[in-house]
Symmetry: C2
Subunit: 492 residues, 2 copies
């Protein structure tokens, strides 16, 4: 019937910026998420699952100001004309959930969430428009106790995920310390919003530009190697010196950092509060076993300070990561978090304190793979060849026996001959093929082919005929011994 019309065939293609994932990659992520969320649960957090969609106006950052809002989010209009968007993180849906169910929820409200989020952005290498987030948040608890708990939990979660203690460090800062700095610079009021942003952008470039470069950007401006000129924040020399002092206040011990920081920003109310919070956190973290090696105040942590309202934290890998060619790879932060007391305010009109963490699962998995700390692809199933059509029930019985012995096992269910079946077993990464033809059946035996060992041996073989006659890496055993023999090979 299809021949009569012959419609144009659609081209099978995955949408731009998305990806399929298969097998071991999924298993590894699932395993990592299970270990992380077990830590979250042990700390008393319960899972919350919100739908993929939120009303666009409830997402906040991305209000529809044009006919079809698609700045950063995927949006569409429902039957009743309301705009809906796919969530771009797990925090905005949390805010909506808390505001919608405020009276019924226990306070503090502690939830974790795992799931995909979507970004309507230009895709690039390694940058996908759908990826997994894994968050835990406490809503309704003021600083610093819940913040300390977040840092401790993040540390334990990263260890559970596979990072050795000492392989990463959590770096702390506090938004109020920065606000204090800006206040002492006389930039706290609204008219200086642009200048404030310029100062923060300059500070965030210490890594790349060094002190002189940052100082130039804080002052008149800077010309880079290509000759391009970037306008500066136009601070006076005293202001520049103060910002540099702020950034250089990071010392070997948290106590010393707090002392130095107090000298720079303690004169402002916000600054004093920032110092106080950081000092309290450092003390409690130390009491929980997190000294500077594991959790260190680092005033160069600027990213996120625009978004958060109090303490911020970032987990960075310490040991160098190299790619398959031995070149160093900059992983960046594998997790971050902080306090955002304005979260629910948009809906409720009252400030609700909140603090949370988010683990970049994909990035963490990639780093662990590069460090060689995650096992290679998982073994495929044992494949039982299907050589005689009337013996399928018996083959299936053998597969059931192997499964009962704790092995993955399947009977070949395609329509091809023995050679193709062995090729299939190889392609599935099967450790073993089990072969029962008429000969084996007559003797009550099965032939067990160790495929990994066979592949290894075949590297040293040039004579194909001799190879086939020698039948290496395969043996016939009594049918009753099958499961035990296969286990020996797969377990090895």
């Amino acid at each position: 019937m299809a021949d009569k019309q012959k419609p144009a065939r659609p081209k099978a293609r995955i949408p731009r910026g998305f990806r399929d994932r298969f097998g071991a990659e999924i298993a590894r992520e699932r395993d990592m998420l299970a270990r992380i969320t077990a830590v979250y649960e042990s700390f008393g957090f319960d899972p919350l699952e919100t739908p993929a969609f939120e009303y666009t106006d409830a997402l906040g950052k991305f209000l529809p100001d044009v006919d079809r809002p698609n700045q950063g989010v995927f949006s569409l209009q429902d039957d009743d004309e309301q705009w809906m968007s796919l969530r771009y993180d797990l925090t905005a849906p949390l805010a909506r959930h808390v505001a919608e169910n405020y009276d019924a929820l226990p306070k503090p409200f502690r939830r974790y969430a795992v799931g995909p989020v979507w970004r309507n952005e230009k895709p690039g290498p390694g940058r996908f428009r759908q990826f997994t987030q894994c968050d835990a948040d406490t809503v309704g608890a003021p600083a610093p106790h819940a913040d300390v708990e977040c840092v401790v939990m993040l540390s334990e979660a990263l260890e559970a995920a596979g990072l050795a203690r000492g392989a990463f460090q959590i770096r702390l800062n506090d938004r109020n310390a920065l606000t204090g700095l800006l206040e002492t610079l006389g930039l706290a009021d609204d008219v200086n919003a642009q200048k404030r942003l310029g100062v923060m952008r300059a500070m965030d470039k210490l890594d790349r530009l060094g002190e002189a470069g940052v100082a130039a950007l804080l002052g008149p401006g800077r010309k880079d190697e290509s000759g391009d000129y970037t306008e500066g924040a136009k601070l006076a020399d005293a202001g520049i010196a103060r910002v540099m002092a702020f950034m250089k206040a990071t010392a070997a011990t948290n106590a010393e950092t707090c002392a130095r920081l107090s000298d720079v920003v303690g004169g402002s109310q916000a600054g004093a509060r920032g110092v106080e919070t950081l000092a309290a956190m450092a003390m409690q973290l130390k009491a929980s076993g997190l000294d500077e090696a594991r959790a260190k105040i680092d005033l160069s942590v600027i990213r996120g300070l625009e978004y958060y309202t109090g303490p911020v934290f970032e987990a960075e890998l310490l040991s160098a990561v190299t790619d398959e060619k031995g070149r160093p790879v900059r992983v960046g932060s594998v997790a971050s978090g902080g306090r955002y007391d304005g979260l629910v305010e948009r809906f409720k009109g009252v400030e609700v304190p909140a603090v949370g963490i988010s683990i970049g699962v994909s990035r963490l998995l990639a780093a662990l793979e590069l460090k060689g700390e995650i096992a290679g692809p998982e073994k495929g199933p044992v494949v039982i060849l299907a050589l005689e059509n009337d013996q399928m029930a018996d083959y299936q019985k053998m597969a059931a026996e192997l499964r009962a012995a704790g092995l993955r096992a399947e009977v070949y269910v395609g329509a091809s001959g023995m050679k193709a079946q062995l090729k299939y077993a190889d392609k599935r990464n099967a450790p073993v093929a089990v072969i029962v033809g008429g000969d084996e059946r007559a003797k009550g035996e099965v032939t067990i082919k160790d495929l990994a060992r066979g592949a290894e041996l075949s590297k040293d073989i040039s004579d194909n005929t001799a190879w086939r006659e020698g039948k290496p890496a395969q043996a016939s055993v009594n049918r009753a011994q099958m499961a035990a023999e296969v286990r020996k090979i797969v377990g090895a």
Copy 2:
């Protein structure tokens, strides 16, 4: 600053037809999915994860014929003008994946998939626009071996999910048997498409209308109790008799059913093929231990026959399910599957045989809950009250001790007093609250409050003062004994 502008506050509300899920409900689904996918994996299936979006033209069923296609699916236009839709099942993305990667994939290709799907439909009670599917499919294997394997695996997966053997039955039919029936009725050609549909619709109503009602719908038509008249399929008496014979061919044994079915449709080529496939499946299923009690040919299974091209199967609960008021609840099928050889053809132009199963996880969970075979809400964490601000580090140490003993535990991190903290513990369903104030600390003790026991005892108490003074269900123990004592209560 927010006061200066006072923008209108958005209303916090979840989009229409979606739902939030929390705590135990998520844990139960996750647990069920883990047990089902462990069975899929043991049968040699590997996980595949495709993105939420597919190009609308690749989804097939729902081509955009208007400006914004939203018939049944959620669709939007990408930057490059291409229409994308959220997947409405896990099978269409599988077809796209197989067609896109055909040469690289092992054949047969065996994958399972778990994840949300979206339907842009009018929401109703218990009908949501996002729900979870859990599928396993074999692509590239002809009937009946892969089909038999699917039925066996489905049976094991449902048992792993918590259904007792004997509590459900898998019912089989074959699309070719029906095609055979339609051929012997002379309805196989295109001009009779409408009449064919009428016959199938009438057959699908046997449950509700009984034999006389179905016979009327197959013939001239039927007037229902309200007086509404439904046009019939206008079959002659011999035709009606043949359809009724088809539906009544279901016998106590699969062998007898096949014999009867052969009498009715064996004269047509498709019919003979259907009988042959069902007979072969029944024989192999019996050899795998699935007799009629577990897998039975049932020719009244009509649903799905329009979609599938060969064998179809449905898992039905056998034992009655009643709601909380003891009223019987019709659960319907909790899983279904079948063969759809046209799956990849749309893309490749060649027929690729495929067969798969899909478990309705939400429906299965709901049924198990109604049957009381799933545990109630999980226990909350042990809550350690935070009574003295300067003791937070010590409280956190206690929580860490409890976690090290395998318990969920948290320190209260909110800003309220003791009474509110105990209320919080109740709301979190905490089994135990641990209390350390100045008195306890001086004596090196902790007070352990058994909240469940306390709630039970309080039912018999009317005198509040006596109650408070009696301090039932709480005891002070040495700090070193804390974890062991709490374990005793939580373990009980």
